[in-house]
């Protein structure tokens, strides 16, 4: 199957990536060939097969809801690319 440029653009937006025209063409071709390869899975009948979501037989892992020491605010903020008044600064949202 071949991915169209429109499909690539749609997926890029979902993935929050901006692609230039060359990248769109390259990815359309490369993703198409990878998906062709993936389509080999259809050679297998999996009708009654339970999907393997997690390899270990563990399910919900709970802990007590206790206050633990956390990382100081200044340390966490120190990696932010843009701050104002000790808060993350982003372009206007609303």
């Amino acid at each position: 199957m071949a991915l169209t440029i429109q499909e690539v653009e749609h997926v890029a937006l979902l993935a929050r990536l901006k692609l230039d025209d060359d990248e769109k063409e390259l990815f359309a071709a490369q993703l198409s060939s990878i998906l062709d390869y993936a389509n080999r899975l259809n050679e297998l009948s999996t009708e009654d097969v339970e999907p393997l979501v997690h390899i270990l037989p563990i399910y919900n892992v709970f802990r007590e809801d206790e206050v633990q020491p956390g990382t100081p605010r200044e340390e966490i903020l120190s990696n932010a690319p843009l701050l104002e008044d000790n808060q993350y600064k982003v372009p206007k949202i609303i």
Binding site: L13, E23, I34, A38, L44, V49, I55
Partner: protein, 484 residues
């Protein structure tokens, strides 16, 4: 013999007998890094020498040597290290200084191991050659025109070039075993859940596992014991007792049942590699093991299933890189969507973008059942194949890779490069422990043999690997890097 040439257990022996000090070992390792790093390019960051020597003296002063105490090591640059740059070989994290350390690293620090630096890798562990690093490719110590494998290529090359005594890496589809094979070192990916992944930047969370690169099997057992165990910070880590893995190293494999899957000797495996592994299987027979052919019939479907599941999980894990809380931000955008898109597109390399795109597509509305869900069902069939064989066999042995190390820049078709992982990916799909050990050479390049065990039976593959190593010399052969 220089100190940097020795193994962890040889050095630990010397430390305990007071024949050397951590400071001396660390100086020796730094002199080696100075000698060869320009050629090999294993490191993204080498820690300031005086800072490291201070730590070495502290471990000397503690006077108590056990496990990795006083031993210089390196980390793949996706292990978060408090206060030390952690880049994942990406421009996205080129300035990222974590506020916490990975649990595996904290365990090495508790024993006063000596971290000397952070090692190169494929960007966000997406790749099989260390060429997708945003900074530079690492060279294979056996042939500097070749790549070391990947994604933990720096971790493998640094150990083989004697720049560190051991290192840690991570393995999602072969990222420890494949570079270990290409560089001729020991590499072990433990069972999913054996080692905490807290503080390790995630690629595909149902497959990722932390593991060890070392110069020999005994070193591997020592480091594995140090980093293993339950961690409340990783809900997928399992609370099963950690054995002293060195107790398995007795060389006695009489009656051990070894299966070799016929499908792993097809799939484009070169003649030299087949011969080397068959020769190794003969050696196991001589040592008293029972060796028989087995079948893992769904093997050929592991790779296509992997290249849906891993990118799908990666696409969600990579969503956190939004340019807000950490990482690179393109500041030109005047709305939030553009800020996300520009920040990510400016700073991710092609392979990362390709996998995010592929994963997003496989999870998107209308395709989820056809791709992602289908792949999860096939994953069950692959795991069932292993279960069946392990009813009758103790371990499985195969080649680690279909070929030896490629030349740098040789592959530009992504699918062709993905084929490299064809023999390692099924092990991650089933969550099993797997390791690669050196078992021969082809045109001067190392060949790796893969040993696969039952869940949490790292001891049995270490046992077999040790017996083989004691009766062969492949692990003792080192590349000539033109300096002495």
């Amino acid at each position: 013999m220089e100190l940097y040439e020795l193994t962890l257990h040889e050095l630990q022996d010397k430390l305990q007998k007071k024949e050397t000090s951590s400071e001396e070992i660390t100086r020796s390792v730094f002199s080696r890094i100075n000698q060869v790093e320009d050629k090999v390019k294993s490191f993204i960051t080498v820690i300031d020498k005086e800072t490291v020597l201070k730590k070495a003296r502290e471990s000397d002063e503690s006077g108590k040597f056990t496990g990795v105490t006083g031993i210089p090591y390196g980390l793949k640059d996706l292990f978060c290290t408090r206060g030390v740059l952690t880049t994942c070989a990406s421009n996205m994290l080129a300035n990222y200084i974590p506020t916490h350390s990975s649990t595996a690293v904290s365990k090495l620090e508790e024993q006063k191991g000596i971290m000397v630096g952070k090692l190169n890798m494929d960007e966000f562990a997406m790749g099989s050659s260390t060429e997708t690093s945003a900074f530079f490719p690492t060279r294979n110590p056996w042939d500097l025109d070749r790549m070391p494998g990947g994604s933990s290529g720096g971790s493998a090359a640094a150990v083989r070039a004697d720049e560190v005594i051991f290192s840690l890496g991570s393995d999602t589809g072969g990222s420890i075993r494949q570079p270990a094979s290409f560089c001729g070192v020991v590499g072990l990916k433990p069972t999913y859940g054996r080692v905490s992944r807290s503080g390790v930047v995630a690629f595909a969370s149902s497959l990722d596992q932390v593991g060890v690169f070392s110069k020999d099997v005994e070193d591997c057992a020592i480091v594995l014991k140090t980093i293993s165990g339950y961690d409340p910070l990783d809900s997928t880590s399992v609370n099963i007792e950690v054995p002293d893995y060195t107790t398995y190293l007795d060389g006695d494999i009489k009656g051990m049942k070894i299966g070799y899957p016929r499908e792993y000797f097809e799939q484009g495996v070169t003649e030299d590699i087949k011969q080397a592994v068959f020769k190794a299987l003969k050696k196991f027979e001589e040592l008293g093991a029972i060796v028989e052919e087995v079948s893992l019939p769904h093997s050929e479907y592991a790779l296509p299933a992997y290249y849906l599941i891993a990118p799908a999980e990666a696409s969600t894990n990579m969503a956190k890189f939004d340019g807000v809380r950490f990482g690179y931000r393109n500041i030109s955008a005047d709305n939030v969507i553009d800020m996300f898109c520009n920040s990510r597109s400016d700073s991710f390399g092609d392979e990362v973008k390709r996998r995010i795109m592929l994963g997003t597509y496989a999870l998107s509305s209308g395709y989820y059942d056809a791709y992602y869900l289908k792949a999860l069902k096939v994953r069950r069939l692959i795991a069932n194949d292993f279960d069946k064989v392990f009813k009758d066999f103790d371990i499985i042995i195969s080649p680690t890779t279909p070929n030896t190390a490629f030349k740098i820049g040789q592959q530009d078709d992504p699918l062709a490069l993905y084929m490299n992982d064809i023999l390692t990916v099924p092990v991650n799909m089933a969550g099993l422990p797997g390791m690669s050990i050196p078992c021969g050479f082809s045109n001067g390049l190392p060949i790796g043999m893969q040993l696969i065990g039952k869940p949490f039976a790292e001891g049995s593959i270490l046992k077999a690997a040790y017996a083989f190593e004691q009766n062969t010399d492949y692990h003792k052969v080192k590349p000539d890097l033109g300096v002495k």
